[in-house]
């Protein structure tokens, strides 16, 4: 076989691989959209998205409560995780003695890969009884436990990416600021953090995506009640949990409504990503 023939053939083979990969990715979007159409058509887009009652066996398919659940849990998780993660990243990148740094850096990376069900499991065994005792009512399955579990889960992700971006700030910046008589904290606050802002933003967006998309760990600790959570000790349900718990037994319009839940989740994630992108563009 001549090398020219191989060259030509390989071009097609590689092209086909590319096409297959793209077809798969297109198929995902098309199939999920297609399977959600009957629900949107028969129930109505606004009745699905703004409906507050989810009771499939009695024909109620509103997912607003779960949308609220997803958003609330994620926001609460971010509220806990972001300050901790940023502090931890500053600590690892700028403050910690090299010995601690050498030890913690690979540890944080390991923690990124830990299966989320493990976080859920520990939350279920340790946190639920604790919160039940604290609040004095209920079983402990609550928005708060879910948010803590998610916060711990995304902590390593946000930490490690923010740390990377702080480390990528050239040393001259630090030296320059210090030479001007700034304290170490002033240097970090006014020089390092602004310079590393893109990476920090990216890490938070990634963390948000992981938190909102997490499924099994949340099912284990949130109680899955399709109601608006009245306080953080109340149970709730997330969009992801709704899909995972019911998809295997759903048929007909119920199945389609779960695909619609998937579409809403997909759009929610896209919204978050684009918002982050816009915010980021505005500032630069």
């Amino acid at each position: 076989m001549s090398r020219y023939f191989i060259d030509r053939a390989s071009r097609y083979v590689v092209f086909i691989f590319g096409v297959i990969a793209l077809l798969i990715l297109a198929a995902i979007a098309i199939f999920i959209l297609k399977d959600s159409l009957p629900a949107f058509r028969e129930i109505g887009i606004s009745d699905i998205i703004f409906g507050t009652k989810w009771y499939p066996s009695r024909g109620a398919f509103g997912i607003l409560t779960m949308l609220a659940g997803s958003v609330l849990v994620t926001l609460l998780a971010l509220l806990m995780a972001v300050p901790l993660a940023l502090g931890c990243a500053i600590f690892l990148a700028e403050v910690a003695p090299p010995r601690i740094r050498r030890l913690t850096r690979p540890a944080v990376e390991l923690l990124v890969g830990i299966p989320s069900v493990v976080y859920g499991l520990v939350g279920m065994i340790v946190l639920c009884p604790l919160i039940a005792n604290l609040s004095g009512t209920g079983s402990g399955s609550s928005v708060l436990v879910a948010a803590i579990v998610l916060a711990i889960m995304i902590l390593p992700t946000v930490t490690s990416i923010s740390e990377d971006s702080m480390r990528a700030v050239p040393n001259q910046y630090r030296e320059g600021a210090l030479a001007l008589g700034a304290t170490h904290w002033q240097t970090i606050h006014h020089v390092i953090l602004p310079a590393a802002r893109n990476g920090i933003m990216a890490s938070i967006v990634l963390g948000t995506g992981r938190a909102i998309g997490e499924t099994m760990a949340v099912i284990m600790v949130i109680g899955n009640s399709p109601i608006f959570p009245t306080n953080i000790f109340a149970p709730a349900r997330t969009l992801t949990g709704n899909i995972a718990v019911e998809i295997m037994s759903a048929t007909g319009i119920h199945q389609s409504a779960l695909f619609a839940t998937g579409v809403v989740l997909f759009i929610l994630i896209m919204l978050i990503n684009s918002l982050a992108l816009i915010a980021y563009r505005k500032k630069t």
Partner: protein
């Protein structure tokens, strides 16, 4: 030569992967029956599967969960050879898939369970209905099964009637999780299959009737149901042999051992 080889090692690795995958595909196809659906039937079906395998070493019975509705849907769509359900077929299901056949393989009661320290001993059906229609509050933490669970469908049919269960309650996807939560929460109330009820939770009497096998057999306990195997059309071959085995005196003895009630 060696250099040329070194450049190719990822390709070799790949071919290796693919070969392994292919050879595992060509492995001896042992005969297997898949049964799936109700998580109530699951432990029982797993026991049956084990005994059946002991008698027929080359047949594997694979048992999966997912909920009764998943069992009905699964067998109708050809995912399972036999679906398992802890409820009867709904009219919507029989009209959608008219060729489904139901086999009663065991009888089961649904016990209303609370924390062992709870002082409540008896509830009337109406009180029970009111508790579940109200949902969680300071007095009760109400736990429900998820949509699609046969236990939930039975509970709704026999206790709730036309009343809806309050959505202000927890929805857990498995009987084990319900039992665990009830055992750990002092004011929890929920419903689980008799086969799951043990000393870690307290079963209430309903209108004065205790949830026992005898009361269930004679019909005085109000919340009982059949556990079912569902097939698409009349089963043949191995599936029939398996169902016959479950209905045999040996199979029914396992039913009693697992805490359910035999139908023969």
């Amino acid at each position: 030569m060696q250099d040329a080889f070194r450049n190719k090692w990822p390709l070799l690795l790949l071919t290796g992967f693919i070969l392994i995958a292919l050879t595992s595909a060509c492995g001896p196809a042992s005969t297997c029956i898949t049964a799936g659906g109700s998580t109530t039937v699951q432990p029982l079906a797993e026991k049956w599967a084990e005994e059946f395998k002991a008698k027929n070493p080359n047949v594997d019975v694979i048992v999966q969960g997912g909920g009764s509705s998943a069992g009905v849907k699964g067998v109708a769509q050809g995912i399972f050879d036999t679906g398992t359900a802890s409820r009867e077929l709904k009219s919507s299901e029989t009209s959608q898939w008219p060729d489904l056949v139901t086999y009663h393989v065991a009888l089961d009661a649904i016990a209303i369970v609370v924390h062992p320290s709870n002082t409540t001993a008896n509830l009337s059906l109406k009180e029970l209905r009111d508790i579940f229609a109200t949902g969680s509050n300071a007095t009760w933490t109400v736990l429900n099964r998820e949509e699609g669970s046969g236990t939930r469908d039975n509970f709704e049919e026999k206790v709730m009637g036309d009343t809806e269960v309050s959505l202000n309650s927890e929805f857990l996807p498995a009987a084990g999780a319900i039992k665990q939560k009830v055992a750990n929460t002092t004011n929890a109330i929920s419903y689980i299959s008799l086969g799951y009820a043990d000393a870690s939770v307290k079963a209430l009497t309903i209108d004065g009737t205790t949830c026992t096998k005898d009361n269930c057999r004679n019909g005085s306990y109000p919340i009982s149901r059949y556990l079912n195997f569902i097939t698409k059309g009349e089963p043949g071959g191995l599936v029939k042999t398996f169902i016959d085995f479950c209905l045999s005196s040996e199979g029914q003895q396992l039913v009693e051992e697992e805490g359910y009630i035999s139908v023969k």
